[in-house]
Homo-oligomer: 433 residues x 2
């Protein structure tokens, strides 16, 4: 399948921006250049006229728990521990594989319709998440969440290995897998050692929550006399690729470790705001050379999976935290939401920019709108003014998944209906328990 | 004209929520109640089936400079003084009445398409702003910005009086007028005294910027030995209705004054974030009984006029500032964006809730979307998950201005085209100056 995108405002996220064409051959970009520059002899099966549209790399959501879309709006504005122990955990305990499948499809639909082409997910029943990813056509880095202090911890780790063996590299390379030790306070060092050995055996990275709340910092400090990041450094966790979600409360030493070890950080500004966790020192991390991507976290704490708004929030939150309007300018935020995220997931060789040879994960944005007018600065518009609904067309791995906002891979109405059915059943199961 | 809205999820913002009908007779709501409760004999000229839609009061944007949409994306991520003196002021100096008209229509179009039905504007060439408001059909509280330290200060005040006399109560009551002394640091007490005398003569309120930046606080402190709020209290400015924009940096005394005097505060979270001004103590103000509405500020510092996102940002920003997820819950944020804003503008007798006798300023939201599913909690969905494009139908003063996202009062393409023309001319005028 050969696809030609014509006459777009191309933002490559490699530092260039021009009106031009993108040629896609199979799953990869075979050419990007000014209008009319596509090599003679390229015979597209399909041509998209992208006049008055911007073309960018697909957005990369570095941290989520997709199936938690089923809990969107189920419990808000509560103290953290009450929210977790009295709302989230009880309803999570009722989740079936069917719920996870439909919740993940609902998440996938929402992400697709807001320009996310790749997401990093940590949850359970990951076979069903992978099935949803395979069907909707997105790219995903998936891992089973591992709780070392839970009863079946070793068995779950064994199942996790099976998942990695079954799905790493599946769906035409769209699905990659990791191991997902949940956090230092749920996975003691002895358990983490087992996870690390397994990761090395499989040759995959880790996706872990780190330094999210002050409570976690205090707890680890009390138990181990150091910060969560220092504890992970002590057990050599960072010797392999690591995607670390949150990293809100960090010392200068922590930041130095994250930079030196090449850890990918998933910054989740709206979740950190909504849960009152704090403001991550993103500008300091970037200045120290830490690789920071952006994520939404799950829909129970955001409450949506909208990377368009998340990149805006990331920029605005740093500016106000430092009372400095110059930090995290628009272009830097767009980088974080694309190639920064790709790097955090270890996928920057394949995705994250619009360049020849990369996978064709492309978003077309409809610029012909009041809130994106006049056209002074497209990158500023995408970061500071755009909405999810401006995402017009989404291509992943060379395949058009949405065109003119019409989703081509799944039946939208059916996903909404089935996810609604699952959510109602879960609520009634919890309230009758 | 009689209008019937049937079978909506009605959120009245008076504490009730039900599936029901809204009857509109002329400019006002004649009935709100459960489905089927509309009195017999009400014969609608038009019926809107609002199944699977939410109905809320229109959003109230408490502070903006509408025509600054022409500068959207023109200058971002710069130090405040460089942004103002080298970018904003030079291009503002080139604005013509024609620019103001098209820029205001562009703003009106953007606000209409994102569910804002009323806005409070402070700018210049206000006759042209009023003309735009009259044409597009929105409700607005308008004032000419007054700079006491500028050369023609007295003449501009005189023109401002003419504007109030010509437009206060115009357009079927949709346009109200105020006097707009810009800020304490641009309007010394002697000039403010003249403005106050004029306001009392006209019987209108004031719209002023207060306590926006640390620089302002220091400057007023140095010159007058007190805070901006205390200075205003000293000259009895708060003895009449006042809409105070920003109020970011406040002492406990300041908050006590704002509460006791019934000042309406326009909180502009995204502008305060983007300019690095700081985080307003909204939760403390609300606890003290201050009436706080929400605004976007102008598009040069936001960069959009999207109240849907602004109410979300208001809620999230307070939670993270206080590291407390329980502050500013969803319902409270929705109140601030509707009836709180109406109160801040002195219009809560007329708008801000869905109640019999109030003006029919109504927004219908399309709920049938992935990011608003499942339907656990509609208020949480509107505040934490909705986007501007979910706004489906907008009614102001009983007139349908947008239906199924089609704007009925102005030619959208023409507004975008003309505003683009104005913006290009302005940029070229500035660069050749």
């Amino acid at each position: 399948m050969k696809l030609l995108i014509r006459n777009a405002y191309v933002i490559t996220v490699t530092g260039t921006e021009f009106v031009g064409d993108i040629a896609v051959d199979g799953a990869r970009i075979s050419h990007v250049g000014p209008t009319g520059s596509v090599p003679e002899g390229f015979e597209p099966d399909e041509t998209i006229d992208a006049t008055a549209k911007a073309a960018t790399p697909g957005l990369v959501n570095c941290h989520t728990h997709a199936a938690m879309t089923l809990f969107r709006g189920y419990a808000d504005d509560l103290p953290l521990m009450e929210w977790l122990t009295q709302k989230v955990w009880p309803i999570e305990a009722k989740l079936t594989g069917d719920d996870i499948y439909w919740g993940s499809l609902l998440a996938g639909l929402e992400m697709l319709k807001s320009g996310t082409t790749t997401f990093a997910d940590q949850y359970f029943e990951m076979d069903r998440v992978a099935q949803a990813v395979e069907e909707i056509g997105l790219r995903a880095s998936l891992c089973r969440g591992l709780i070392g202090v839970a009863p079946r911890a070793d068995q779950v780790l064994a199942e996790s290995l099976e998942f990695v063996r079954a799905w790493h590299g599946a769906a035409g390379g769209r699905i990659t897998a990791m191991l997902g030790p949940h956090a230092p306070y749920t996975c003691p060092p002895a358990y983490l050692e087992k996870v690390l050995a397994a990761a090395d055996e499989l040759g995959v990275g880790l996706h872990i929550h780190l330094a999210e709340t002050r409570t976690e910092i205090e707890q680890i400090k009390q138990e181990y006399g150091c910060s969560p990041i220092e504890l992970m450094e002590r057990i050599n966790l960072f010797e392999r690729p690591v995607l670390a979600a949150h990293c809100v409360h960090l010392s200068e030493t922590d930041i130095e470790i994250l930079a030196r070890r090449g850890v990918g950080v998933a910054h989740n500004p709206q979740s950190n705001m909504k849960l009152g966790s704090g403001i991550a020192p993103v500008a300091r991390m970037l200045a120290a050379g830490v690789n920071v991507g952006i994520g939404t976290d799950g829909a129970a704490s955001n409450n949506d999976l909208n990377m368009v708004e998340e990149m805006r929030t990331a920029a605005l939150l740093q500016k106000v935290a430092l009372e400095d309007p110059t930090v995290l300018p628009a272009g830097r935020a767009l980088e974080m939401a694309t190639v920064g995220g790709a790097r955090a997931l270890g996928l920057d060789g394949e995705i994250g920019t619009l360049e020849m040879g990369k996978r064709a994960d492309i978003v077309l944005w409809n610029l012909n709108q009041a809130h994106l007018s006049p056209a002074h600065n497209l990158q500023a518009h995408l970061v500071y003014s755009a909405s999810r609904a401006d995402v017009d067309t989404v291509i992943v791995n060379g395949r058009v998944l949405m065109r003119d906002r019409r989703v081509l891979t799944v039946d939208e109405e059916r996903v909404l209906r089935e996810a609604g059915r699952c959510a109602r059943r879960l609520v009634s199961a919890v309230s009758s328990a």
